[in-house]
Symmetry: C2
Subunit: 330 residues, 2 copies
DNA sequence: TTGAAAGCGATACCAG
DNA sequence: CTGGTATCGCTTTCAA
């Protein structure tokens, strides 16, 4: 493999000049430029990134901490990040924390050891304080928490409002007895969605029976079991608001097993709008989280933060997407 | 940030000794070892990976070329790769080729420019010959193609046999008129599945009406449209074999829209066994591709290949998973 | 078992 | 605008 020096020697210039040409750090006379260009072409020279990294102290790499490699939810965000990083000169180094604070911290140390220039954190269990502290060592952009610091920025979507919209919609369709399958109690988004559910019922003077709120865990099996419990409890309800789409899938299957028709007998609404929600039977009405756009924002943000530019983001918003899993009732 | 030299100076040894201690490349006397250890501890010294990379010429990184960041199919494989790489000292650098040969080639060049020590290629449109050529520059392990070379290895699962099993099962359940929704004609796996379908019918002396084979594209919408065409054509059939699960989802929705019950009126069988297939209504009977295990194999393989060790893989196998979308007919 | 010293291949400062 | 040279931080002969 050729080096700057060889290129320089053959082109009859100095290594410094070749470097300047490569990086556009200073003007290079037209003749030398052409000479260098042709030598590079001829040798098929590619600068050694490893050497450049050492010298510049930067790896041109962004660490991305996700919680799951197989979740459609996070996958969308990662695709967005990837998209934003395209052509920026930065490559994403992706690791998963599996919703475990210790593991997250460990993976982040690994990322920092690899000298990532910035970090994108997707949700997780770390405390804001920990992240703020980490941000003294490397710029950080986070999703799923509100953060602000000289080298840290975090935003969430308004899960509370999203939940309100979902419940408003259900009420607008005539539903009064609305069950809620909650997410993990220690999850911020889950809390916000529960609060939105509660407050919206209250706003409409509908009393939120504690019996109608059942615990889930953001997974299909959680949703399935929740509905079984709900059904077993003998409570009456005409609609189910699932804290996320996976939960809705499980709920829908539980209903199917019992021979309950959706939406004719029971309406179901979800939250997230995963790709597959468009193809469930019936297609799921849900609150859309524009995760791809979120990812793009995050990608842009971290690049700008590293470049000391103003972030100037326009944050994506939640929106209700009406499909066919909710029916109007008298 | 501390360097080896500082550590060395404070510990009263040479940088070389510290390096030897760090890498276990040579014996270091017990006293010096302790001295070094305590200084490292005190300074919280972390070796600079960038410098090490330059010196050793290796980035301790594995490039992974996937086709989609948002596909549950590839995501599983990536999780497997990640799992295998865990603790190996290698980190995955993931890029997506989006099923586009030019883009794949470009991304691979990017990966090589970043001096990845090895490459894992998940399917894609590149020609085997191109990959073999690439493998002169970097060790490559591929999935979805059969490859063998000094620095290249590729394997597929036996899609043909998987398809045969699916059709055998359908026939065993009494089905005779079995429609097939194909995948992209230029996709190897899709070809194998079609061949398996055809041959199995033939083996049972069932004539495979050309009308019962409709084109799909491995996507939900493709499956949906395929079933609409099938229904419009007036052909009779009691079962649908979808070339992959996404196609089956679309097919299932098309049936739902027409009010056709699954599996009472039409049975549906898929291929892949995505996570969500366990929670469709009804849960989908399908041919399972153990993608996570495939990923693990790939991860192990590339690490071993880099280390010049024998690969010694035991390849995962396809298997039929029976759920509830197929019903026995008279 | 240990240390001195020579790079790895690029960048950037300092003269000119 | 250009070249010489020091330097990034580590690993690795080579000699002792």
């Amino acid at each position: 493999m050729a080096t700057v020096h060889e290129v320089a020697r053959i082109a009859g210039v100095s290594a410094a000049t070749v470097s300047r040409f490569l990086n556009g750090t200073a003007k290079v006379s037209i003749e030398k430029r052409q000479a260098i260009e042709s030598v590079i072409e001829r040798l098929n020279y590619k600068p050694n990134v490893l050497a450049r990294n050492l010298k510049t102290g930067s790896s041109r790499t962004i660490g991305v901490l996700t919680q799951s490699l197989v979740s459609g939810y996070f996958a969308d965000a990662m695709a967005g990040i990837d998209d934003a990083l395209q052509g920026s000169g930065y490559a994403p180094l992706i690791v998963s924390g599996h919703w475990h604070a210790d593991e997250e911290a460990e993976r982040i140390e690994l990322l920092i050891a690899r000298r990532v220039d910035g970090l994108v954190i997707l949700s997780g269990k770390l405390k804001d304080a920990q992240i703020l502290k980490l941000s003294q060592r490397v710029p950080i952009v986070a999703f799923g928490r509100t953060l602000d610091g000289p080298q840290a920025y975090g935003f969430s979507l308004d899960n509370y409002r999203g939940a309100c919209e979902a419940v408003e919609y259900l009420i607008g369709q005539g539903h009064r007895q609305i069950a809620f399958i909650a997410g993990p109690a220690d999850h911020l988004d889950a809390q916000a969605r529960l609060a939105g559910y509660r407050d919206t019922l209250r706003k409409h003077k509908i009393k939120a029976s504690a019996q109608l709120i059942v615990e889930g865990d953001f997974s299909e099996s959680g949703g399935l079991q929740a509905v079984e419990r709900l059904l077993a409890s003998g409570q009456r309800f005409s609609a189910i608001f699932a804290a996320n789409d996976l939960t809705a899938y499980g709920a829908r299957l539980a209903l199917y097993r019992r021979g309950v028709k959706v939406p004719e007998e029971i309406s179901v609404i979800g939250f997230d709008d995963l790709h597959s929600s468009m193809y469930t039977t019936p297609p799921l009405t849900t609150v859309r989280q524009p995760l791809f756009d979120v990812g793009r924002c995050l990608g842009q943000a971290i690049v700008r933060m590293i470049g000391q530019e103003p972030l100037a983001l326009d944050l994506p918003q939640l929106s209700l997407v009406v499909r066919e899993s909710v029916q109007r009732v008298a």
